[in-house]
């Protein structure tokens, strides 16, 4: 069962990478990058159970938090063109 799940995740990973490489718009690429992060988390969890050591599951939490930070930074960059944008500072 875990082998089938691993195969499915690897398949999805290759599809997401294809979208990141060919994606015509920026948002395709952002979404594909986010998907790859999520699939890496899933792969980490499934491989942990596949090899009989699910203790590494906690590290998946770190991945999840980092993925969020990366995506937020990308989206903020696109909304404001600046990572250090502060709404309060720009108020007249």
């Amino acid at each position: 069962m875990f082998i089938a799940a691993t195969a499915a995740i690897l398949m999805a990973l290759s599809l997401a990478i294809a979208r990141a490489i060919w994606g015509p718009t920026v948002f395709d690429r952002v979404l594909a990058g986010n998907s790859v992060g999520i699939l890496a988390i899933l792969l980490l969890a499934v491989v942990g159970f596949l090899t009989g050591r699910p203790a590494f599951l906690d590290i998946a939490l770190t991945y999840a938090l980092l993925n969020l930070i990366g995506t937020l930074a990308v989206l903020k960059f696109f909304r404001h063109g600046d990572l250090a944008y502060d709404v309060e500072e720009r108020k007249p």
Binding site: L10, I21, V26, I69, D82
Partner: protein
């Protein structure tokens, strides 16, 4: 099963690397570099180096993406084609690659138990670590006790680099405010 997963992940790594080289939009390069980090972190997880994988994911996929985006804010987002000839750099990097591969030929096969690195100090660590350091985790006892000075030096370097970056960023921020006031 593990070799198959590794083969699939390494193939994707190669594809992403070629795509990074061919990509002209620097924003796409940033996204692909973050994908590359997640893939290499997955390879490291499959190879059982979970601590290295966590470092790679946090530094490569997390912090590097943010830093590269911040750099992208300062430069244009389309890569300009090089004006100099490309052949000499290609030759130099090909030569360096061949040298590295040639160096790996004399290494013992992957996972050999009686490789020199496993016979030097490792047996002593495994035998005496608990009674000498009272740390239940072997890796932690090596990093924080046997190699304590090494770790202290690394931490000092990172701390100094952090102070330097903070001072530099503060300098530019203040200058920016002055410009706006003028």
């Amino acid at each position: 099963m593990e070799p198959i997963i590794n083969m699939a992940l390494l193939t994707m790594l190669a594809v992403v690397t070629v795509a990074i080289i061919g990509q002209r939009s620097l924003f796409g390069v940033v996204i692909l570099a973050s994908i590359y980090s997640f893939l290499i972190a997955s390879v490291l997880v499959v190879l059982d180096a979970v601590d290295v994988a966590m470092t790679e994911a946090s530094v490569g996929a997390g912090i590097s993406t943010v830093l590269l985006l911040a750099a992208l804010h300062l430069v244009k987002t389309i890569e300009v084609l090089p004006t100099q000839p490309r052949l000499p750099p290609l030759l130099v990097s090909a030569l360096a690659g061949v040298t590295v591969i040639w160096g790996t030929l004399v290494l013992p096969p992957f996972g050999t138990a009686d490789a020199p690195i496993h016979r030097h100090v490792v047996p002593r660590y495994i035998e005496r670590s608990i009674e000498e350091t009272n740390v239940p985790n072997l890796v932690s006892s090596i990093l924080a006790d046997y190699r304590g000075y090494d770790t202290l030096g690394e931490t000092t370097v990172i701390f100094t680099a952090g102070i330097g970056v903070l001072l530099l960023l503060r300098g530019t921020r203040r200058r920016g405010h002055n410009d706006r006031a003028d």
